[in-house]
Each structure stands twice: as C-alpha cells, then as structure tokens.
Subunit: 338 residues, 2 copies
Amino acid sequence: MATIKDIAKIAGVSVTTVSRALNGYSDVNENTRQKIIEIAKQLNYSPNTLARSLVMNKSKTIGLLVSGLKRESSKDNFTFEVLAGVNQYVGETDYDMILFSTNSTKQREKTYTQLCRERRVDGAILQGIRIDDPYLQEVVESDIPCVLIDIPIESETVGYVTTDNVLGARKAVQHLIDLGHKNIAMINGYEFALVSQKRLEGYRRALLEANLPFYTHWVVDGKFEEEIAEQEALRLLKQYPEITAFFCASDLMALAVIKAVKKLGKRVPEDIAVIGYDDIFLASYSTPPLSTVAQNIFAMGYEAAKLLIEMLEGKAESHVKVLETELKIRESTVKNHL
Amino acid sequence: MATIKDIAKIAGVSVTTVSRALNGYSDVNENTRQKIIEIAKQLNYSPNTLARSLVMNKSKTIGLLVSGLKRESSKDNFTFEVLAGVNQYVGETDYDMILFSTNSTKQREKTYTQLCRERRVDGAILQGIRIDDPYLQEVVESDIPCVLIDIPIESETVGYVTTDNVLGARKAVQHLIDLGHKNIAMINGYEFALVSQKRLEGYRRALLEANLPFYTHWVVDGKFEEEIAEQEALRLLKQYPEITAFFCASDLMALAVIKAVKKLGKRVPEDIAVIGYDDIFLASYSTPPLSTVAQNIFAMGYEAAKLLIEMLEGKAESHVKVLETELKIRESTVKNHL
DNA sequence: CGTAAAATCCGAAACGTTTTGGAAAAAGTT
DNA sequence: AACTTTTTCCAAAACGTTTCGGATTTTACG
C-alpha cells in the first residue's frame, strides 16, 4: 500500500512536503502540490489513520457503548434508533464510530474505560447502561469525555442528553384526567431506572394538580416486561374495580395491559383507557392503536453525538440537552380519534 | 497515559522485555514478568492499539458497511439484527467493529474502499448494498477481505452468507397450494434486488411442480413499500377476482395486502390467504397474525462475522454459508391454527 | 573446572505519519 | 549591490509498540 514516502520519492521531494501538500498547508508551491496530488492519485494513496492518530494523539473516533444490542431488543428498537441518530451526525463529520457492546464476553474481562483507552477513542457515548453499573462510575471518573443518554451526570468531561420524563408523564396523565378519569393506575418500570423515577414523579404531579389522591398501591413495577405487566394489571383490575385508566411506563407494557383488559372482557378505551410511553413502531399498529408519549430517540442519538463532538472540539456551551416529548393521542384513550 | 517505556524505566528493564513479558513470551523470567505486570497494574497501563496495529500491520478491526441505518428502517429491523449478530460474534473475539454507514455525507466523497483502507480495517462486512452500487464492485475487486450479505459473489478474498430464497419462497407457495389454492398472485420487491429474483424463481418452481400455470401479470413489484403493495393488491383483486392467495416478498407488503383485502370487505384467510416473508416483529402481532417465511437474520450477522474472521485467520474452508429458512404458519393462511 | 546448552535479557530498527525549527532560494526594497 | 522579506523546502524527532539478531548470564553435564 502506497505511503507518503513513496510519493515523496517519485515527486523528488521530502515526506514533509508531501504531508504538508496533502494537508493543504500554504508553505508549498502550488505546482509541486498539484504534482504531489497527481502522484497520490495515481498510486491510489490512502493516508494511514493509525499512524496519524498515533502522532497526533487523537483518533477522530468515538466509541458507542451500548447495552441491549441483543436479539430480543428489536422489539423496542431504542438502541437501534439511538445508533442511527449517532451514526447520522457522525457521518456529517470526519469522525468515525466504533461500537462496543457491553453484553459481550469482553465486558467481563475489560472495563469500558479499558476498551476506550486501548482503542484510543476521543470520546464515548453511553446508552442503556444501568445506573448501578460499577463501570459507569469508572468511565465518568476517567478523563475520557463522554455523554450519557438518560443519565443526568454532569462534570467537566461528561454531559448528557435526555427527555423531560417528568413532563412527559405529566402530559400523559393530564390527558387521562382531561378525559374525565379519576382513578388512574400506573404500571411503572424498574425501581432503579431513572426514567421510572421521573415518570412516577410526573404521574404524581399530574394527580396533585388535579386534586386527585395518590395511592402507592396503584403504582406497580412491571420491570418493563410484558408478562409481569399483564399479571399486575389483571391483579389491579380485580382488586380495584374502580380503576378506569392505566398509565404505563412503556408501550410494550401498555400493550400487555390492553391484553389483560381484553381478557377480563372489558373494552379499551370505553371501559379502561390505556396510555403508554415511547411510541414504538408497534404502537400505531396495535388494535386499538395506542396513545403514548413519543420520544424522538433518533434525535437523542443525534444530539448526543453532536454534543460529544462539540465537547471534543471545545465548543460546547452547555453539557446537557433536554429534548421534548410529544403526546400522541390514539384510540386506546379516545374512541374514534380522527 | 502510561506507556511501555514508563514501565520499563520503573522495572529497570528494556522496553523489549516489558513488551514480551506482557505478551506472554517464554523468554522472560517469571519473577520479572510478575514485577512488570504488577507495575503495569499500578500505572493503570493500557496498550496503545494504534501503535500496535501500526507495526503489526493489522488492526484487529472489522468494518461493518451498512446502508439502511436510517430512521425509517426500524420497521423491518433487518439492519439492526444483522448488526446485533455481527456484534455478538465479534464480542467473542479480540476484534472490534467499526461502523460505516453508507447513506451519510461521507459516502459521496469517499468510497467504501477508501474508508476501509484509511481506517486499516482487516476486513469488512457489507449489508444492504444495492447490487448495482458501483462501489460494491470496487470493494470486491480490492484486496480487502470481505463477506457480503445476500449477494452471492465469491472469490479469493470475498465470501457471502445468505438464505435459500428459492427454497423459502417455494415452501411458502407450496403451503398455499397444500391448502387448496390454485390462483396465487405474488407481490414481489424490486427488480434488481437479488432476493426478489430468487423468490420469484421459488414461486415459479412451486407452481410448476403443482402443474399450475404461471402468469406474469399476476406478479407485480411492490418495491418493498406498503403503499405500492396495497395499491397493486387492490388492482389485482379487482381485475382478477379468481385470485385467492397472495405470496408477498416482505411482511410489510403482506400487511399492506391484508389491509387491501379488508378494504374490499373480504376476510383473511377465509376469502384470501396471505403469506409474507421475513417474520418481522410485527408479523406475530398483526390481526390476523401473519404466516411468513422466517429468516434468522441475527444468525446471518453472526455467521458473516464468523466467516470473515475465519477468512482473516486463514482457517475458512468455505467462503459461502447458506442458512435455512423456516415456514411460520399463522392465521393469515389457516384459520384457528393451533 | 570447562564447555555446551538453556534461559534471560536488550539495542535498534521499523511501522507511517505530523511537526518543529530552520535553511536555501527567490523576490522585493532601498 | 546589499539588505530584508517572503516563499519554498527539508532533516530529524516524535508517537508507542513489536521484532530481529545477538549478547549476557545461568544452568547442566562430563
């Protein structure tokens, strides 16, 4: 493979000159520059990024650390959309992206930090890492610039992007209240998931604002799993027949709740209204189509990449970005809506 | 960041020894090795892969070139599953993976080959590249080892993994024939898509084997798009009322066909049977659940990565892998199945 | 004890770039 | 003609690693 040296030899100049010519420095004669470019083209020259990175001490590479890059996670394609968003922005720059999956064998042997340092990534984006993951702390405390998705930690070298989960949940519950519901249960996700805490907060706030009582026994964790959500919904519906609406922390769980409602011979939304969270692809295809709080996950990925690269170039004003959510009203809460 | 030199200085040995100690060579005393390892640990040393790759002339990196890493492609998450599969296998090795998306701005400026050569990937996996993409030829003709997904090109340096699309289609159509259907239309994908050609071939073969006539006007291209598929199905159903079944080259199109059938006031499967291809997530959730030909896309990614790395290590017996498909019979062809 | 063999170590070159600090040549200015 | 300035070029060092070829020390053995 042709190197800068080969070009230099043929052109009869030093490697310095070739390097500077190819990189557009002004201290090389335009004629020799053209000659060099011509030769480079003929030799089909590609710069060796490895060598360049080594001497420049930056790789123009960002690492994307994701958990949940497994088969099952194609249901909610959160990870995929983040990935696509990151990829989109990265593609607009001269950075490349290297993908580390954390549920691999490697993870157990090497920490995220090690992976990043070995590959000399300039920065990293972390997605789907659990808040109690010991390695998370390690990355955050390292000097590797990184931006987190849905985890609000901020420092000199770390930023994050998230959506306003409190507001999102509030809007959802408010929508139910506006429809006249007074007895609204919540199927939450996972106690230690930050988004769950936030969405619970939004649920509570909405009730409070409407002067409705908040019952802790009407809030259950579905662990983001369909089966559990279905069981819990069945239990709640039997135990508290006064419940007329469900707010669920994920669409998948909301779909499970609908299933439960149907099993009891009741109708959605006439008897029980159900609203989800995420706006996964399935939501608009289900029967009835699911009302939900849409997050623009693609945008989260895009903004995360943008933020990270701005941080790397030292031109980030803020280290945090909060995106908007959108209430999508479909027929699981309002019959014949549009 | 600590280097091998720092370790050498502290340990009072040469860099050579440190290198060889850390890499497990046998010509270093076990005591000094332990001392070196200890120091490395204390300095929190991580080897610089860039430097290593530079001198070894291999990067232990594979490139994943995908098209279709865009927002819309989350419907059929083909790309995602391939990615997950590749990632899975790569995670089991000491390789890492760098992701190139071809629908980015960069693509227009740099060819795939350039991207690969600059980043010095050892090999590449190509997914979703159109068969008439001029850059495809370039990669294949370059000396970069690569494996293609669903494109049967084989050479010294290129292999591929695919599923048996002819057989898959044949099984689907045979299933319809077994149910007593004699007038079966096909909604195909895209003329230049290889899978479409193969599936058409399978459709034709199944008809032939059953001594049923093959009408070219009963085969239309839906371009893998829902709207087109729906329109074409409507047109066919009106024009040829004798049609009782549809074989579709993708699940999304099959769902669109079901929509069309319903619009005409007919029932699936009683009046019209519909079978798809892919087994996307949505297929099992639709009403009625969609019969389809399932491809294990995750496995395709996994096998692609495996094949590539075997090729890189020089231990690949064959350069091609053909995976099986599975006929999934649901209620869009057989009422009350199970 | 002397020598052969084995064990342990190391210096230096190499990988392909960028960059620093000038040097040489050309052009401009009195 | 004698300078200054500008333009154009380059040698050498540096980045962090691996590896080749050999040197030195220790051990084994007669």
